[in-house]
Each structure stands twice: as structure tokens, then as C-alpha cells.
């Protein structure tokens, strides 16, 4: 292990927490959105789909600004959440989670939607004839059979949350211990020539965490494939 500053370790721990939470929130939300997009038919669906994809199309900084304007303490939604639920995202690590979720949403939603659409509709029909309603069928048939996509979505979401920088630093800034993730720490370190080593070390650590997540997801996927064949 390279000799990292305590600050850097804090950033690693924070990144881990943010990425884990972003995955935990991002996956269920994305699953619901993917289901709506895969199966729903309603006016404005294309627009809805487009909005989900926006964070991919726009530079992250813009998404970060949009979040700051909307969810900042003075933003319309931010003020509402603060007053009625006491939820504050601005300049908190929870805001970094929100940024990561929003940024990874298009990727996760697409992966899960792809898997949902690949589920053989005839199995869902069979479920119906056995008395299962749409919701039961979703949880007992569609969802388990979409597991490959959900797993891919989770992996991509986790990885993206580790690497997300532009939207995060713009939305919740780069406050040590609160919102300075690995990505922001790399940026901070790279501001001075003496920081190059630390930036490299942090990059390597981020890569290792990402690789570990990837390997874990492959193991789960293999295990899943084995039990179902």
C-alpha cells in the first residue's frame, strides 16, 4: 500500500460508502424505471426516457449545476425536502450519492431494461394462468430472470459512482471528510506537482476497488447461471 495521507483514506472510505449507497438506491429505482419503460405505454414516454438519459448527454458539470439549482438548500425541491422531511442533500455525502445515482441512472436503467425485454413473455403468460397477478409475476418470474441485467446494472452503477467527479464536485463540492470522494481527491492531489504520486496511488486503488466489484459480480452471475441450469 502506498503511503497515503489520512485525508486520502477518508476519501476512500467515503467513496466506498457513496458507491455502495448509490448502488443500493440506484438499482431498485432503475428497476422500477426500466419496468415502466419496458412495459408501460403512456403519452410522453419518449420524453421520460430522454430525461433519464440526459446525464449521459450533458457534461457532468451541467448535471451538477442542475442538481444544485434543484436540490440545493435554496432550490425548489431542496427547500421542500428540507422543510417537510428534514432531508438535506446539499454539501452532504448524501448529495454525492444523489449525484452518483443520477449520473449512473441511464446506464443501469438500460441494462435492466434490456434484460426485462429479453424475458420470454410466454413464461409470464404461464405465470398468469397459474393465478399470479402482474405484480406477483413480476417478482417471481420477470425479476429473477432479469437478474443478469440487474447485476450488470449494479456493477456499472458501483463503478460509475466510484469514478463520478464532475457532477459531484459541482453539486456538493469537494469538502474533505464530507463530499471528497476518491475522484475529487485525485483532482485535489493533481493540483500540485507533489500530488502526482498520490493521484496515481488513488487511481490504482479506485481501479482495484472497481476490479473487485467486477469479480464479485462475475462470481454471483456464475453462481446464478449454475443454479438455473
Amino acid at each position: 500500500m502506498p503511503d497515503l495521507s489520512p485525508d486520502a483514506w477518508t476519501a476512500i472510505a467515503l467513496s466506498f460508502k457513496v458507491a455502495a449507497m448509490a448502488t443500493l438506491w440506484g438499482v431498485p429505482v432503475s428497476t422500477v424505471l426500466a419496468l415502466i419503460l419496458a412495459r408501460g405505454r403512456f403519452p410522453g414516454k419518449a420524453l421520460f426516457d430522454g430525461i433519464i438519459h440526459l446525464p449521459l448527454v450533458l457534461p457532468p458539470v451541467v448535471t451538477g449545476y442542475a442538481l444544485l439549482l434543484l436540490l440545493g438548500r435554496k432550490g425548489p425541491l431542496g427547500a421542500f425536502l428540507d422543510q417537510h422531511f428534514g432531508i438535506v442533500f446539499a454539501f452532504r455525502w448524501t448529495g454525492a450519492v444523489v449525484a452518483a445515482v443520477v449520473m449512473s441512472l441511464p446506464i443501469i436503467v438500460r441494462a435492466i431494461r434490456l434484460s426485462i425485454e429479453a424475458v420470454d413473455a410466454r413464461l409470464e403468460q404461464a405465470s398468469g394462468t397459474l393465478g399470479a397477478g402482474p405484480i406477483a409475476t413480476f417478482f417471481l418470474v420477470t425479476l429473477p430472470l432479469s437478474l443478469p441485467g440487474i447485476l450488470v446494472g449494479a456493477t456499472l452503477g458501483f463503478a460509475k459512482a466510484l469514478g463520478e467527479f464532475g457532477a459531484t464536485i459541482t453539486f456538493v463540492s469537494n469538502i474533505p471528510g464530507e463530499t471528497r470522494t476518491i475522484a475529487s481527491a485525485i483532482y485535489t492531489a493533481s493540483q500540485s506537482p507533489e500530488g502526482d504520486a498520490e493521484a496515481l496511488a488513488l487511481s490504482v486503488i479506485a481501479a482495484c476497488i472497481g476490479l473487485a466489484a467486477l469479480v464479485a459480480s462475475e462470481i454471483i452471475a456464475r453462481w446464478f447461471r449454475r443454479t438455473s441450469s
Binding site: 469537494n174 471528510g177 493533481s190 506537482p193
Partner: protein
């Protein structure tokens, strides 16, 4: 413990951190430095960010927050100055004379000139102004390689991707891979300044720290990093 929350332009942050580390010892204060692009910091302060002190890398973002009424009246002043220099890779023995209008284009040839992106990187804006006043802008701007931050511009030069670069004196001093080829005359651009100010949230601890930044201990650190005294 009192907490002093400083939103600082990324280029100032490393020196600031050193000063804060010294300042803290023996005192019951915490100094929290949040580095980012000046523009992002300004908008975050507007959005209610937890900041006591704002150090901007240029005047316009300080003006922005002052105009929005976010700063304590009369608390802003120019903390630091900087110089603008032309750099080349360390082993690249070149010489440029700004007095000779043909000199810079000749040295540059078909190669690239790394600069900060004028709109987003203050050093880029100064470079643009300086070249204009020297009458070189129209000839060399097609060869610009605008970078998103000065560190990247420096690396482009150090790695030989760009022949020359225009950066701050502080950056040139810190990067061993480059050497200063020429320094832009102070008259060729607006004075380079780093304004500092206290936000409306700031308490006495923050004010004390800002006062300390003007003192000799801080000055030694800033000078070592290549910062100059600000023009008034």
C-alpha cells in the same frame, strides 16, 4: 473547536493547506479547505454552501458573489498576485523575445501552444489579453491548445505534446519538467490577483485566519510557491 471553512481556487489550495497545518498547531481550530474551480465555488456559495472564506483565482467570480450580496461588506481584498510566463520543456533550449513579433511564431512553427481555456481558466484569459496587447494573438491563437486546467497545460509542455505553454509563474516553478522561456511584461495584462473575502456566515475565527494569511509566516509559504504581492 472553531471551524474555518475555506472555499479556495484549486491552484491556491496546496499552499493554503500548508499554512493551515502550521496555523492549527496549538490552537483549538479546524481548518477545512475545499478546492474546486472558482466558478463552481462561487455558485455553490450562492446556493448556500458552508463556507466562511472564499478565495477566487480571478476578480470576476469575487465580483459575482459580492454583487449577489453574499460577502461581508468590505471584507474582500486581493491576497496574492502572480506572474504570467511562457514555458517550454526543460530540455528544449529555446528563446523567445516578446519585443520581436516574429520570435514567438517562429519558435512555435506548426506546433501547439498550451494555454488555459480562456473562459474557464483565469490563466487562459490573462494569456489571451497579454498576447493581444503584444500584437501576437492573431498569429498564434490558431495554434492554441486550450486546456481545462493549468496542470494539464503544463503536462502538455513537459511531455512535449505542445511546444510552448503560457502558465502562471507559480505553476512553472512547481513543475520540474518545464523551464521558463520568457515572462510576460506586467503591462501586457491586467494585474493577476487572487481576491479573498469573508462570507456572511463567517465568524471571528475565520477573520483571524484571514488576517494571519496576510502575515509573514503565510507570506513565506506563498512566496516559496511563486506567488507575488498583489498589485493594489
Amino acid at each position: 473547536a472553531d471551524q474555518i471553512r475555506i472555499f479556495a481556487a484549486a491552484s491556491v489550495a496546496p499552499s493554503l493547506q500548508k499554512i493551515a497545518d502550521t496555523y492549527k498547531t496549538g490552537k483549538d481550530v479546524e481548518v477545512q479547505i475545499t478546492p474546486a474551480a472558482s466558478g463552481a465555488l462561487a455558485k455553490q456559495i450562492e446556493a448556500g454552501a458552508p463556507a466562511d472564506v472564499f478565495i477566487s483565482a480571478d476578480l470576476k467570480w469575487m465580483t459575482y458573489v459580492v454583487d449577489k450580496g453574499l460577502m461581508k461588506d468590505g471584507s474582500t481584498f486581493n491576497l496574492l498576485g502572480n506572474s504570467l510566463v511562457l514555458v517550454a520543456a526543460k530540455d528544449d533550449k529555446v528563446a523567445v523575445d516578446f519585443a520581436d513579433k516574429a520570435s514567438l511564431p517562429a519558435v512555435l512553427g506548426e506546433e501547439r501552444l498550451a494555454v488555459g481555456e480562456a473562459k474557464s481558466v483565469p490563466a487562459g484569459a490573462y494569456a489571451e489579453a497579454a498576447l493581444k496587447s503584444l500584437g501576437l494573438y492573431d498569429t498564434v491563437s490558431p495554434r492554441f491548445a486550450p486546456a481545462e486546467n493549468v496542470r494539464v497545460a503544463l503536462q502538455m509542455v513537459a511531455r512535449g505534446e505542445a511546444k510552448l505553454g503560457i502558465v502562471y509563474g507559480t505553476d512553472a516553478a512547481a513543475e520540474p519538467g518545464v523551464a521558463v522561456v520568457a515572462t510576460f511584461p506586467e503591462t501586457s495584462h491586467e494585474p493577476i490577483v487572487y481576491p479573498i473575502g469573508l462570507t456572511k456566515d463567517a465568524g471571528q475565527a475565520a477573520a483571524d485566519f484571514v488576517a494571519y494569511l496576510k502575515g509573514p509566516e503565510a507570506d513565506a509559504v506563498f512566496t516559496a510557491a511563486g506567488f507575488t504581492k498583489p498589485a493594489e
